[in-house]
């Protein structure tokens, strides 16, 4: 029998018992749907992140933290404190130190272009005239401006300006009492920070305030996801000087220090390794989004396991269906063998029937997940993703779809082997006499 005839016969046999076949396919469909949609969401979100990271630029930008501080920064970012209400008991201070000799060593590492000391600022809260509440805030001053910051209103910070300037993110608009991005421009906000020395003598009254002008609002994107507000050089200096007031100069120079710089992105791995040996950790833009990626990967794995369990259950369904099919077709098998069909072809006929079950199951799974994905994209774009017209929540790559289909077909084939062997081993006469 030709392969094409075997495939046609297998497919024909499949639809002899429509309800049974449908139920078996449904089980496979659930597994395939879960895996395909989940992979599509993962690759959609990941490619969104890629695009964002790419659009920000700053490939070679690094922040260097003393190893101990790195953990603090990391957990602060993970807990996501942006725009939550301020609680005076928890505070925000981070302390660190980078010695001059270490800085020299770090600068000499191959691939490091520039590396400058940079004062980390840890203000206590942010507020405005339009609200009574104070909110947690993290601010960031990027001395080198090779980032493309997306603004939904206003303009970029001027690091040369004498005025204190800040960029808000959209998360802060409503808490601070602004209607929309435009509304916030040129308004004044107030940042509170601790004057460290004062806190020893008057712990309840050591918070100083500084007013700054909102020059722009950052569009939602990967940079704003970190929750940090960007400020200009003048404001950075003001907050730093204010918080270090009364501290001896040498001590002040060593508090809350990190280094920022730019490196050759190609050599990043090597640089990271060398820095670690000296006792410092590097954080790149990719690392900042890396946490989001890790989360996504965990979601992917969890759902893939769900899908795999569904497929496992489905494959037992396939075995069952095929055993019934072999039983029902006992005479047919006997007839074909009597008419000279070889055992190998009989095996192929039934294992192909199983493989086709897998094929149809995954095809329906893919079709429905593509439909669901498109519908999901539509809903997302009219609601929570309205600001990201270019972001598709789900992305179906042909490779993923093909790999998933082939895997499911393989699983189905393997499930079909046992019943197919049973069919192939039947003796023609016994099979023909079977009532």
């Amino acid at each position: 029998m030709r392969l094409i005839d075997i495939i046609k016969t297998a497919n024909h046999n499949l639809f002899q018992n429509k309800i049974r076949t449908f139920l078996t396919i449904l089980a496979i469909f659930i597994g395939s749907f879960t895996i395909v949609l989940n992979t599509a969401i993962n690759s959609g979100v990941n490619s969104f992140i890629d695009k964002q990271v790419e659009s920000i630029g700053g490939d070679g930008f690094i922040e260097v933290f003393p190893a101990a501080m790195y953990d603090q920064v990391n957990s602060a970012m993970k807990s996501g404190t942006a725009a939550t209400e301020y609680n005076p008991d928890t505070g925000s201070a981070l302390s660190s130190n980078i010695s001059d000799s270490d800085l020299e060593k770090l600068r000499k590492v191959e691939g490091v272009n520039t590396l400058e000391i940079f004062h980390m600022l840890s203000p206590e809260w942010i507020t405005s005239n339009h609200t009574d509440k104070k909110y947690n805030v993290a601010i960031e001053y990027f001395p080198n401006t090779d980032f493309n910051v997306d603004l939904s209103a206003g303009q970029m910070l001027d690091h040369e300006a004498k005025d204190y300037e800040i960029l808000l993110t959209e998360e802060y608009l409503e808490p601070l009492g602004f209607k929309d991005p435009e509304d916030a421009i040129d308004k004044t906000i107030t940042i509170g920070f601790k004057q460290t020395t004062l806190c020893y003598t008057q712990p309840d009254n050591c918070i100083k305030k500084v007013d700054a002008k909102v020059v722009g609002v950052q569009a939602p994107g990967i940079l704003s996801m970190s929750g940090e507000l960007q400020i200009n050089a003048a404001l950075s200096d003001a907050i730093y000087d204010g918080s270090m007031k009364g501290v001896p100069v040498e001590t002040a120079a060593k508090a809350n220090i990190i280094a920022v710089g730019s490196v050759d992105p190609e050599k990043l791995d090597n640089i990271r390794e060398k820095f670690r040996n000296i006792g410092y950790e590097i954080m790149t833009i990719d690392d900042t989004v890396g946490m989001i990626r890790t989360f996504l990967d965990v979601v992917l794995i969890v759902f893939t396991i769900f899908g795999a369990i569904a497929l496992l259950a489905a494959s037992i369904g396939i075995i069952n269906t095929l055993f019934m099919s072999v039983q029902e077709r006992t005479r047919e098998i006997g007839l074909m063998k009597a008419l000279g069909m070889g055992s190998g072809k009989i095996f192929l006929l039934f294992s192909l029937e199983a493989t086709l079950l897998g094929f149809w199951g995954s095809v329906f799974g893919i079709a429905v997940s593509v439909a669901a994905g498109l519908a999901g994209n539509g809903i997302a774009h009219s609601t929570f993703l309205a600001d990201f017209p270019t972001f598709s929540l789900t992305e179906f790559t042909p490779l993923n779809v093909v790999v998933i289909t082939l895997t499911i077909m393989l699983v189905a084939f393997v499930s079909g082997t046992l019943p197919a062997i049973k069919a192939a081993r039947k003796n023609p006469i016994d099979a023909l006499r079977y009532e």
Binding site: M1, R2, D5, Q16, R331, E332, G334, L335, M336, A338, L339, G340, M341, G342, S343, K345, N427, P428, I429, L432
Partner: protein, 239 residues
């Protein structure tokens, strides 16, 4: 005349030990090319069993079967399949059709198995259906035919591959005498025109007498074998 099938000391036992049943006991016979042989006997005497063994569908418990001077034990499974597919035609006692498939598909099954091209096998199957007078039923579902029509479909399937030997188990069992005669005429025409050897299991004595040779079986033993008739008696039989 060339011997086609030679059987020596053939016996077949079904089951094991306490349930063992000797369905065939020490059968010896030779069937020549172009012969028409009737296997007759009461129900349960072992006719179908013998036919299945001759057609190499089943293995004997003891004894040998030679086809064209080749011991069947020596044939590989592939060769055996090929032999059954290309050289043999079968009409089984209980039809054995794929009830949900079309009449045409049932008839062309042997050709499908032998990997004949689509167009050729369709043509051959339609020819075979025409021979049994059922060409207008080609696209009907096999299950929807009457008993006699089903029997004729089975005959069409048995002749579709132009076999050298046709094994027919009760080919007229379900037919009225008119249709039965037609079927018989058809088989004997194949014998006359194409030298097809006929091995027919029947308890219909009229049909048995039309064959050149009758092998009588009782309780698994040959009780009477008329042997190949001479050409003179053959002519006589034709009258």
């Amino acid at each position: 005349m060339k011997p086609l099938i030679e059987v020596t000391n053939l016996s077949k036992t079904y089951g094991k030990k306490s349930t063992a049943f000797r369905a065939l006991k020490d059968i010896n016979l030779t069937i020549n090319e172009g012969e028409t042989v009737a296997i007759v006997g009461k129900s349960g005497s072992g006719k179908s069993t013998l036919m299945h063994l001759l057609a190499l569908l089943d293995q004997p418990t003891t004894g040998t079967i030679k086809i064209n001077d080749i011991n069947s034990h020596k044939l590989k499974q592939r060769q055996l399949n090929r032999l059954r597919n290309r050289e043999f035609g079968f009409v089984f006692q209980q039809f054995f059709m794929n009830a949900n498939d079309s009449v045409l598909n049932n008839v062309l099954l042997p050709l499908k198995i032998s990997s004949t091209r689509r167009r050729a096998r369709k043509k051959l199957a339609l020819d075979a259906l025409k021979t049994v007078g059922l060409e207008d039923k080609a696209s009907n579902k096999a299950n929807d035919l009457s008993g006699g029509q089903k029997q004729r479909v089975c005959i069409a399937r048995a002749i579709v591959n132009n076999p050298k030997i046709i094994f027919a188990d009760e080919p007229t069992g379900n037919l009225d005498s008119v249709t039965g005669d037609k079927v018989i005429k058809l088989l004997f025409d194949l014998n006359r025109n194409k030298k097809v050897t006929l091995i027919i299991v029947t308890h219909d004595l009229e049909l048995a007498n039309k064959c050149q040779r009758q092998i009588h079986i009782k309780d698994g033993k040959i009780t009477k074998d008329t042997g190949t008739k001479t050409s003179a008696t053959k002519k006589e039989a034709k009258k």
